[in-house]
């Protein structure tokens, strides 16, 4: 365990500032948000997709039947492929799923588990993978405006759909600002050498300190920005619009359920029913 901790510390010190390029992250996130509006999934009605998602987010937790789970998993795998999700998102997903259950398995071996532990863990992995792929399909496949409109239609608080739109529009700016502040601290600072273990620990402390300090100007700048945003919103009558039924109707009038949506649902139902049939026959 101590080893694991020191490993985490090392990785931490290597990763925090050096390894990830801010531009890469920004591109991936933006690509994920706006880069695939012409896919089959993106053209579907967000309300239909949300209902579809609720099914695949809940049902796998209550079923322990392997053929059925496998069927659901294959279906969401196909929809994820159709949604053409950005590589980074899939990478984070794969890493999350496999490290989770793999690690749990290794630890359970330490406590006297054996090969019989594998099966429940595989089922757990299957469940987790199905649920997360369904969410990747819906939340990465749809562009943010359609997603927030869909959520709004279901009566999700206007605050949340506002947050989604705001997040997608402001994220590139926020990232750039964070990068600038961090870089300016880096330019002015003198990092300790990190060849020895003590040096590495000193280097880690130095990096954490830089991040902490950079949040001071960052918080002040973001506060100014938040005030500007809210004042601009107020000028346009945002708070009244958020609670006004007429405005909401106009906002949601672009949503339309088409034949292709029914087709999507029908094919999904067919597939799920088929896997349920197979699971009862076996």
């Amino acid at each position: 365990m101590e080893n694991a901790m020191s490993k985490t510390m090392n990785k931490l010190s290597e990763n925090v500032l050096d390894k990830f390029s801010m531009d890469f992250l920004r591109n991936q996130v933006l690509k994920n948000a706006y880069g695939n509006t012409d896919t089959v999934i993106a053209k579907l009605d967000p309300r239909i997709l949300l209902v579809w998602y609720v099914f695949f987010a809940l049902v796998p937790w209550f079923v322990n039947n392997v053929p059925f789970l496998l069927g659901c998993f294959i279906l969401v795998l196909i929809t994820t492929a159709l949604a053409r999700v950005a590589g980074l998102v899939l990478f984070v997903f794969a890493l999350g799923v496999f490290s989770q259950t793999g690690y749990l398995f290794v630890v359970s071996l330490l406590f006297g588990g054996d090969a019989s532990t594998v099966l429940p863990l595989l089922i757990l992995t299957l469940k987790v993978a199905t649920v997360s792929l369904a969410s990747i399909t819906v939340f990465s496949g749809l562009d943010p405006d359609r997603l927030s409109n869909g959520l709004l239609w279901f009566g999700v608080p206007e605050r949340l759909s506002f947050s989604i739109s705001y997040a997608y529009r402001m994220l590139p700016m926020l990232m750039e600002e964070f990068q600038n502040v961090l870089l300016s601290y880096k330019l002015r600072g003198n990092p300790p050498s990190h060849d020895t273990l003590m040096g590495k620990i000193r280097y880690l402390i130095y990096q954490v300190k830089v991040i902490m300090q950079s949040f001071y100007p960052l918080m002040l700048n973001t506060a100014k920005r938040a005030r500007t945003t809210v004042e601009a919103l107020e000028l346009r009558g945002y708070r009244n619009a958020a609670s006004n039924k007429e405005v909401r109707k106009i906002m949601l009038s672009s949503l339309r359920v088409q034949y292709s949506d029914f087709m999507f649902i029908a094919i999904s139902v067919l597939w799920v029913a088929l896997s349920a049939l197979v699971s009862t026959l076996i």
């Binding site: 901790m5 985490t8 990785k11 990763n15 990830f20 994920n32 948000a33 987010a57 980074l88 998102v89 984070v92 890493l95 999350g96 490290s99 989770q100 793999g102 690690y103 749990l104 630890v107 071996l109 406590f111 588990g113 054996d114 019989s116 532990t117 429940p120 089922i123 757990l124 649920v131 990747i136 939340f139 990465s140 605050r159 947050s163 705001y166 997040a167 997608y168 902490m212 949040f215 960052l218 918080m219 506060a223 920005r225 938040a226 945003t229 809210v230 004042e231 919103l233 107020e234 034949y259 029914f262 087709m263 029908a266 094919i267 139902v269 799920v272 029913a273 088929l274 049939l277 009862t280």
Partner: protein, 280 residues
């Protein structure tokens, strides 16, 4: 846009605080989500490295919009934007972060009192970690059939969760929550509030403690929900429903398949027709 007589924030200032806390914490959690090596297994060593952001803000501003903003920011930036929205887990994170930040922010009456600030930051983090560890254990218990029967699994889950809790509290709790909060709160106090057109927090205009009672009720509700999950696990409604469904499943499945095929055929015909109409 001016503050009330009693120091409370106006509606638009609450929105400003919400936006501020959402963007900062959302951005920070986006990074932690993207740096994969922080996560080791079901145990998340990383949990809340940046919890100091909402903690600091909650001690300076109205805690409720800060808590809601931070929880929403995490949900939107790191879960929905990256498509990592997993349903149950995110709901749990939303609640635990909001409750912990709100309580920590309400406890601090005077941001100049460093002892209270430090204690609140530390116990806020501890509260969040304890609640999420509890939910993690229950999640595994719920998802894995015959949890107790699987050799070595219960012990390993308890051990890893317990270890993760202790590790997170000592490592990220002190290094990433206590120290930054102690550094930032006094530095920002009196400087950041005027930017939103507000009075700095003093013991006179601090948020009232009556709301703490409300949060205690919320915690009792949380415990109640957990207890309910355990009871239903003990073999009541959900399991029986599942058993029934499997028994008569073949007939139902065949029925659903037939219905779905008919629906697909009808829809295909209708789509073709409407396409022709568009062309005509």
């Amino acid at each position: 846009m001016s503050a009330d007589v009693n120091g409370g924030a106006t509606q638009s200032q609450k929105l400003m605080i919400f936006v501020l806390s959402m963007s900062l914490y959302g951005l920070a959690t986006l990074f932690t989500e993207l740096i994969p090596s922080f996560q080791v297994g079901v145990v998340e060593f990383s949990v809340e490295f940046f919890l100091f952001i909402p903690l600091t803000l909650a001690m300076l501003f109205d805690p409720l919009p800060v808590a809601l903003g931070a929880a929403t920011g995490e949900l939107v930036f790191s879960e929905i934007m990256l498509g990592q929205f997993g349903g149950l887990g995110e709901l749990e994170k939303f609640l635990t972060v909001a409750i912990a930040v709100y309580i920590a922010g309400t406890v601090v009456k005077n941001p100049k009192n460093m002892a209270v600030v430090g204690t609140a930051a530390f116990f806020g983090t501890a509260l969040q970690l304890a609640m999420s560890a509890l939910v993690d254990i229950l999640k595994v218990q719920f998802a894995v059939e015959d949890f107790e029967a699987v050799a070595g699994l219960p012990e390993s889950v308890f051990a890893t969760e317990g270890f993760a809790f202790a590790n997170d509290l000592l490592f990220s709790g002190i290094l990433f929550c206590l120290l930054p909060t102690l550094f930032l709160v006094p530095k920002l106090h009196g400087k950041i509030e005027p930017l939103l057109g507000m009075q700095p927090r003093t013991p006179e205009n601090a948020p009232s403690g009556a709301a703490i009672k409300l949060m205690l009720v919320a915690i009792i509700g949380f415990v109640g929900a957990v207890a309910f999950a355990l009871v239903s696990e003990a073999g009541m409604s959900l399991i029986e429903w599942e058993a029934d469904w499997v028994e008569s499943g073949t007939a139902i499945a065949v029925g659903v398949i037939v219905a779905a095929i008919i629906a697909i055929v009808v829809l295909a015909v209708m789509m073709k027709k409407s396409n022709k109409k568009d062309l005509a």
